[in-house]
Symmetry: C2
């Protein structure tokens, strides 16, 4: 008998009939001979309604974060109760547990708490008594009993953390996509669902625009060695397994291509090539709460260098406002440009295969697509392109590496 953790997101539990569908799936898993823990999110729309109520109460002030956590935690609590009821209505034993009751202990950073520890005694106890255990995603409690929430992607994190704590054999993340694809199927028609990939590849895909899961859930899974499967809650097709890399994974040079639109780039020209310049720039940006993606600095030429970075287009005005007062002391000028996109090619196989970068550049040049910036990591090559060309670029690269479905 293996132990399986299943996680269902807000769309999958969006109304009573969908909750009953989830219950049927969970019951089928138990009937196949497994112990099952189910982690659920708030029903879609519920969280938005709660936020609206909070805004109405708080007027122009931002809602206090401690109370926001207390408020939002009701969303998942509603779903666990309804899901446990649905399972019972199918004639199976089930109990619901809030994050706190399931033993999820977090730090005290409200609205984006980090999991510190899990003491899953109660989960074990109810599982051993023959129950399907339904746990509220996204929430926990501090050591001294304050309700907290885990921030975006928190329910995935709950599922993976519980799976780690109870040493589950598998953690299934049910979602509204079929799995992880070699590229966004809306962009590349021949994109193929991958059967498996490594944690690192998943991380690079996630940070490159394949928004199936938040990076931190994948990082947590990697840290504790929890294999998980991303699959659809609307059918029974197998999804994509994400796990430790294996020898066979390295045979595949390139796992997938991901693209991220709505990017902008900022370049500071002829910056004095002395220590402390980059830190001044990026400290100012970070202090303003702006997330920077790629940073590129080339070798110094005659004592000055150019620094470029990319960021989300929406953040560009804020970034410009921060940098303007700094500009005079920095370099010869600042340019900012939106209308660009990032294309990333990911695969652990590229560590042991040479010529991957060349093949990417060649594919793009065949399409006469200009590369504006290049940045590489051990298992990723990212290039910045004109946004209007990115779909074409993705298809060319996808084709060049033979990623399409056979």
């Amino acid at each position: 008998m293996s132990v399986i953790v299943q996680k269902y997101g807000g769309t999958s539990v969006g109304d009573p009939s969908r909750i009953l569908n989830v219950a049927r799936r969970v019951v089928a898993t138990q009937e196949a001979g497994h112990k099952v823990v189910v982690v659920v999110s708030a029903m879609s729309g519920v969280t938005d309604n709660l936020i609206k109520l909070a805004r109405e109460v708080c007027g122009d002030l931002p809602p206090p974060e401690r109370e926001m956590d207390m408020l939002l935690a009701t969303g998942e609590q509603t779903t666990i109760a309804l899901t446990a009821m649905a399972i019972q209505s199918l004639g199976h034993q089930a109990v619901s547990l809030t994050g706190a009751q399931a033993g999820i202990v977090t730090d005290g950073v409200h609205t984006k708490a980090k999991i510190r520890d899990i003491t899953p005694a109660r989960v074990h106890q109810f599982l051993d008594a023959g129950n399907i255990v339904v746990v509220a995603g996204f929430q926990g409690e501090t050591d001294d009993g304050q309700t907290t929430t885990l921030g975006r992607g928190g329910s995935d994190l709950t599922a993976i953390a519980i799976a780690a704590a109870i040493k589950a054999d598998l953690c299934q993340i049910f979602t509204d996509v079929e799995g992880v694809f070699t590229c966004d199927p809306r962009v590349v028609k021949t994109a193929r669902k991958m059967n498996e990939l490594s944690y690192d590849e998943m991380l690079e895909m996630a940070s490159s625009g394949s928004k199936v899961m938040q990076s931190r859930s994948v990082e947590f899974a990697k840290k504790f060695g929890v294999p998980f499967e991303v699959r659809s809650s609307f059918n029974n097709n197998p999804g994509t397994i994400v796990k430790e890399e294996t020898m066979s994974m390295e045979q595949v040079v390139i796992r997938g291509v991901s693209i991220e639109r709505n990017q902008a780039k900022v370049t500071i020209f002829q910056v004095a090539d002395t220590p402390g310049i980059a830190s001044r720039v990026f400290k100012a940006i970070a202090d303003a709460g702006i997330a920077v993606d790629m940073i590129v600095q080339n070798v110094s030429l005659q004592g000055t260098t150019d620094i470029s970075f990319t960021l989300n287009k929406d953040e560009l005005p804020k970034a410009q406002k921060v940098l303007e007062p700094l500009a005079e002391g920095l370099g010869k000028g600042i340019t900012a440009q939106d209308g660009i996109a990032k294309l990333s090619v990911v695969g652990i196989g590229m560590r042991s295969h040479s010529g991957v970068a060349a093949k990417v550049f060649e594919a793009l040049s065949q399409g006469n697509i200009n590369i504006q910036m290049i940045s590489t990591s051990e298992i990723k090559i990212a290039v910045v392109l004109e946004e209007t060309r990115v779909a074409e670029a993705a298809n060319l690269v996808h084709e060049a590496f033979g990623l399409s479905a056979v």
Copy 2:
């Protein structure tokens, strides 16, 4: 500096603007120099919506009670978060606590748990740090961490129990009425709001149709000597204080008149006057979950007696069904009649004043109103009348005892 517990019901916190009104009232109380604990119910309508969701999930089966508690507890949790936010938006410190976090420990009888203990360490700690503490009414947690709810009137009970545990100086129950009246003002136009009455009088009024509060909250307050005030959340008028009886209370012979419509009576004629007959009747009734109100049996005449009891009209068909199979072995026949009402005259002063009953009967006879049944307790005289005459009767008795506003 005194400590005050204030309780606001579902109507008082029915939407964000009403929650802000409550927040203003609470803040004003703190600014008047008091420490304040606020107990709130679910926003009106929320509980009904949750019950509807549960029914949709459970189909024809009754929703499991453990999960119902988990579900319903979200209603009050939503309100405490919004109320704490509203108080903070007015520039005052506030924290919300669920029933469990406030230390309310209950037995494990889901959907109608009883409070076993309160460990209000956290309430004290947050109060001492200058916060207004907002506690979820209606809910608690068992010793082993299961979420429970307290059933009907549970938020009043929470308020009084917290007031007892933290030794509050006063507990204010804010509601949609102005206080406790000498009679229902819709029936007796000259009815007067009482300034104070004793726990026992409040209990008799409550059990006689003055449904301001559930009896068990009043009993709890009496047991732990918690004075409380029933008052309106829509204005600043003083309400009615309910407390230990005092010497001056006894000067008032009659405190008030309460009426209860929609009653029915059942009489079993010529029952053999032997031990065990009454127990057979009322055990059968109790086993069917039917609540009986007055029971009257007169002295035995020639070895047989008549037993009558009243009950809610809606329960009459069920009672008849239960008694029919018993009837033959019991007496000469059973009659059942609805269209009756109960009128009760309540006052601790009647213990030391004679002639109260005579005065009630005289008032009714002046109106030519027939008395069908009579039952008395130490501080109450209750009579059963034709329902169509009860308003007239209430006015006559109210007038006879000089209860009207001066």
